[in-house]
């Protein structure tokens, strides 16, 4: 297979533009400038890697996000940097021919291809809640993962389970790491993940032929190392104690911190605060709405999105932890006084 540099030359890309490109993606991958020579070297020597991109229970928002990547352009990634051999939503081919091609690729590049999984498998009813090409997606997934070098879990579906795994999870949808246990899995959570994070992860895998450094939950550190809260441009308002109380108040107009209206920035790890979305145009908090924590585990079950802490489900009562705590302390104090009075009476006399 030809290397990136050869592909670039074939497309008439100048050496200067090639180096610019290498510099840009080094930054996008979250690497330090000292890594630029390594990236250039890798681009010159590494062959393109075959990628299988399969879809389970999902909404294709990951693909939608991916094709909007600006640096590098998704088209560049798909057409020149990797060799995307199978993707049911992007392929021109369809049907049995495409399914057969997937099987062939698995055989031909056994142990060398990357498996990208968008969505997750439902285990209920033998996996019949998600059928691809006449077979349960669960089988497809296991079969495709067997010969893979590494597995990418695209989005919150593949990483955590997301909306289909939210309570009560009628189809028993599970994140892919419950099914694939013998392969390195890179979790790229988000609903969807940021486009540049997706292309960045692929670039890293392809260029360095290695798994990017992962945190304790299996997410690439360079993109999921920081809280949105710690990279948020509205952080100064948080520190100053200037909070939006309602979405129509003066603070909201002034762009104050959304902490009190339930922003999940303080508990969410993602790159929204620094890379942002749509080629760096904006992100939810910049648009005036709190983060809903879509890159975090079971974020659907951590409702309501407009409160800082989950309430306890009591009928007809809004039981925030502070209210429950205060009531419990008051009850304990009242109980103590009552107990004390009885104790005193009971122990009277009998000296």
């Amino acid at each position: 297979m030809e290397t990136f540099w050869e592909t670039f030359k074939r497309h008439g890309v100048s050496r200067r533009d090639f180096l610019k490109f290498a510099t840009t993606i080094t930054g996008m991958m979250g690497l330090s400038p000292s890594m630029i020579p390594h990236v250039v070297r890798a681009l010159e020597t590494k062959p393109r890697v075959p990628v299988l991109w399969i879809h389970g229970l999902e909404c294709t928002c990951c693909s939608e996000s991916f094709i909007r990547s600006a640096t590098p352009l998704a088209s560049d990634v798909v057409l020149s940097m990797i060799s995307l051999e199978y993707d049911d939503t992007l392929s021109a081919a369809a049907g049995e021919a495409l399914e057969k091609h997937r099987e062939e690729i698995i055989k031909r590049y056994w142990g060398n291809y990357i498996l990208a999984v968008e969505g997750n498998p439902p285990l209920g009813e033998d996996g019949m809640y998600c059928v691809v090409g006449g077979r349960a997606f669960l089988e497809n997934l296991k079969e495709s993962a067997k010969g893979a070098k590494a597995v990418i879990a695209w989005g919150s579906c593949a990483s955590w389970g997301c909306v289909q795994a939210a309570k009560p999870n009628p189809t028993t949808a599970v994140p892919i790491h419950k099914v694939i246990t013998d392969k390195p899995i890179i979790k790229v959570p988000g609903c969807p993940p940021i486009a540049e994070v997706m292309t960045g992860v692929i670039m890293y895998l392809v260029l360095f032929d290695a798994i990017p450094p992962l945190d304790s939950q299996g997410r690439p550190k360079q993109f999921y190392g920081n809280r949105i809260h710690d990279t948020c441009y509205r952080r100064a308002f948080f520190n100053a104690g200037q909070f939006v109380e309602r979405f129509d108040d003066d603070g909201a107009k002034k762009g104050w911190c959304l902490y009190k209206v339930g922003c999940r920035g303080p508990t969410t790890y993602n790159s929204c605060g620094n890379i942002r979305w749509y080629n760096g145009l904006s992100y939810p908090i910049q648009a005036g709405h709190g983060c809903i924590g879509c890159a975090e585990e079971d974020f659907w079950d951590k409702a309501p999105f407009y409160q800082r802490l989950t309430t306890i489900p009591l009928p007809n009562v809004e039981a925030s932890p502070d209210k429950v705590g205060a009531v419990a302390v008051a009850a304990a104090a009242a109980g103590a006084v009552a107990h004390g009075v009885i104790s005193k009476i009971r122990n009277k006399g009998g000296k």
């Binding site: 190392g225 909070f243 508990t267 932890p321 419990a328 103590a336 004390g340 104790s343 122990n347 009998g350």
Partner: protein, 234 residues
Amino acid sequence: MIEAKKIYIFSPGLRVWHWINFLTIMVLFFTGLYIGNPFFLGPVGVEATYAYREGITMDFIRKVHFIAGYVLLASFLFRVIIAVFNKRDRLVFPAVWRKDYWTSLKEITLKYTFIMKDKEGYEYIRNALARTFYPLVYLMILFMIATGFAMYGMSKPSSFWSFLLGWLLGFLGGEFSVHAWHHWVAWLIIIFAVLHVYFVIREEAIKKNGELSSMFSGYKVFEKEPVDIKDIEE
């Protein structure tokens, strides 16, 4: 009947630790309440960057919380160390392997449910209910330290704290859940504190044995020889 006897129970280190612990927990609790739910706004009408000059800000309250967190950690370590070197300071563990623990548990339950009078039964250096609950309180404090520093450390992903405790966040179901846990356990500690103060006052009011002042003086008065006296004898 033997004469009432003053027995030395609490070492100076333990007494100092107790009061530092009390103050730290109070500071942590009230600053924590504000951090969880900022019920008053910081200075408004000023640039956020300069707000710290104008009054109390979230930033300041968090700083106090974090400093108190470090004090709590240091005092906890101090508590562990004195327990290693001093037999008196090892009263915390429930002696479930001894018969007197179970006798005491029965007696104290009967006393607290008004079936037995407080003067009846044996005397103990520390009753079995206290022996059972204190370890839980230490565990709760340890939990607060661990979750607290895990969240604190993740502000700098390459820091010592995130290396040491970062895994805890994923283990407890994500940082959002950890915030909630941190909150709930804080309330549990306060409920303990209320009951703790009550039972101390109750003991003092009924037995007049110096329970209340023992955490200052170190001495308590006993009318009978306590059953578990061996726990504090060198």
